[in-house]
């Protein structure tokens, strides 16, 4: 694997909350055009890692290199500008604001006609959002809010989309829908996706490559297929 293909490189990253360290030197990479899944149980450090990449979680050691730039200590807005967009855990939409305002705020750092073009693109992807675009976003169902959160992230025109537990709290049929959309984004829009999931089966099924994180360290890595077939992964995360 050539390192110049890597869009995101994480080297020996350490981070924690107060005196408790949650990541003990995590190294991994995401290549251009890939879907990479990070699976692991609750509290293993998945969300911490994703938050460190988007810049809302301070790091205590190691480095994050994105698109050839060291962004380890960059402010979140500087990272959005470089092309990192995170869909946070629990959606975190702007409930009182309208759906269209939510989407337009996704393009907060951009200017010009591209915004309207991308707005149409998101509405094509999620027609239900267009129908209700004047309504407050808080009135959407859980699945629709997830679509809105993904749409909002896409509005920044990202090179790398970070998805934190996109399937959480969704009915199985909606989970399938969300993962189909993620695949579609990679195949049709060339977006690189780094997703974190407890639903290991769904995530590894669409992932080109995957990593397993256990108590703040990467324990297993491989292609999505390899991990799905791995005995340890099957026992610990797939329940078979």
């Amino acid at each position: 694997m050539r390192s110049d293909e890597a869009l995101l490189q994480i080297n020996a990253l350490r981070s924690g909350y107060g005196r408790i360290e949650a990541l003990h030197g995590v190294s991994m990479e995401v290549n251009r055009g890939e879907i990479v899944a990070l699976v692991g149980s609750n509290g293993a450090g998945k969300t911490t890692l994703l938050r460190a990449v988007s810049g809302v979680q301070p790091v205590s050691g190691g480095a994050i290199v994105f698109d050839g730039h060291d962004v380890t200590n960059a402010q979140p807005h500087a990272r959005v500008k470089r092309g990192i967009a995170q869909v946070p855990e629990g959606r975190q939409i702007f409930s009182p604001l309208s759906i269209e305002d939510n989407l337009r705020l996704g393009a907060y750092l951009r200017k010009g006609s591209e915004i309207d073009r991308d707005l149409d693109m998101v509405y094509d992807l999620f027609p239900v959002l267009k129908e209700r675009r004047r309504n407050p976003a808080g009135g959407l169902s859980g699945g629709q809010q997830q679509m809105l959160a993904i749409g909002r992230a896409l509005m920044s025109g990202p090179k790398l989309l970070l998805l934190d537990e996109p399937s959480m709290g969704l009915a199985p049929i909606l989970v399938d829908q969300v993962f189909q959309i993620v695949e579609k984004l990679r195949d049709e829009s060339g977006v690189t996706v780094f997703l974190v999931e407890q639903n290991a089966f769904a995530a590894l099924s669409i992932a080109d490559r995957g990593y397993v994180i256990e108590t703040g360290e990467i324990s297993i890595s491989g292609t999505g297929r390899e991990l799905l077939d791995d005995e340890r992964v099957r026992e610990a995360y797939l329940g078979v």
């Binding site: 988007s54 702007f94 009182p96 808080g138 009135g139 959407l140 909002r152």
Partner: protein, 290 residues
């Protein structure tokens, strides 16, 4: 009837000032969860700076601009030097910081200005206008008109500009705001500057009626806070309604009961709200589905 109208007029005038102070509370509270008890000092700075600038020979319109700018700079400094360094502190700590800032600003005003009461000449003369037997000062219309203009300008700012939407987004969900690239520290600073400007304008408009001095901020902050609580903390419409109601209660309380208890009205309102409806009249408007 004339008496009733008279109380209405004075209640609405002073209520408009409380409403503006309450709006200042609301804007900062929404953007940062900070209850800024130095809000009253912005009103004082607006009035006092205008008084001293005009006394130094500066024409009134320019003195007004200087006063508003001075308050905005102090609002920004308050955020950068006192609030921002304590980011992540508990709400109680932040409230105590703003109370400290308020005491500091009062002390500073004693030194920079003086300890006397001051007035400004009314903007359009002192001849009262007779409305149904009630005599209303022309300056009251300046206060009410100013409040209306500020409310409309704020509405346009929050609903029609990208920066205004960024403030609303920060208020709705700070994490998500940071993730879409909003510099939330800038937005919170902006909310302090905006609140300071609103407070200063209120102080300038009302000085010809109520006079000003270095220590008027404390009581104004408490009454504005009572207004914000009554309307529902965090709700801008609630702040306006609450402000006008507190003003009217004061005027009618002073008129029909006893003027001795005028200042007690705001505290009765605070207690009443806490006991009977902690959410306030309008609460925080939110549509949410989990």
């Amino acid at each position: 009837m004339a008496e009733f109208l008279q109380f209405c007029a004075s209640g609405l005038t002073v209520g408009a000032v409380y409403a503006l102070v309450a709006l200042g509370f609301t804007i900062i509270y929404n953007a940062s969860d900070v209850v800024n008890f130095a809000q009253g000092e912005f009103v004082m700075i607006g009035g006092m700076t205008t008084v001293f600038a005009t006394a130094a020979g500066v024409p009134l319109p320019i003195a007004v601009l200087i006063a508003i700018l001075a308050a905005m700079v102090i609002g920004l400094l308050l955020h950068r030097l006192a609030i921002e360094p304590a980011r992540g502190a508990s709400p109680v700590t932040l409230i105590i910081i703003t109370i400290g800032a308020s005491i500091f600003l009062r002390g500073l005003a004693q030194i920079v200005f003086d300890k006397q009461f001051h007035s400004l000449p009314a903007f359009s003369g002192d001849t009262p206008i007779n409305i149904g037997g009630a005599l209303v000062l022309p300056q009251s219309f300046w206060v009410l008109g100013g409040a209306v203009v500020i409310v409309i300008a704020l509405w346009a700012f929050f609903n029609r500009t990208v920066t205004g939407k960024a403030v609303l987004a920060t208020a709705a969900n700070r994490l998500a705001a940071r993730l879409v690239g909003i510099n939330t520290s800038f937005v919170i600073g902006l909310s302090f500057v905006l609140s300071a400007a609103i407070g200063a304008i209120a102080g300038i408009l009302v000085t010809p009626i109520t006079l000003t001095s270095y220590d008027i901020g404390t009581l104004l902050a408490l009454k504005g806070f009572a207004a914000a609580m009554l309307g529902g903390m965090g709700n801008p419409i609630g702040a306006i309604v609450g402000g006008l109601l507190v003003g009217l209660l004061e005027a009618f309380g002073a008129g029909y009961i006893s003027s001795t208890y005028k200042d007690a009205m705001a505290f009765i309102v605070i207690l009443g709200v806490l006991f009977v409806m902690p959410g306030g009249l309008l609460g925080r408007a939110s549509v949410e589905r989990v």
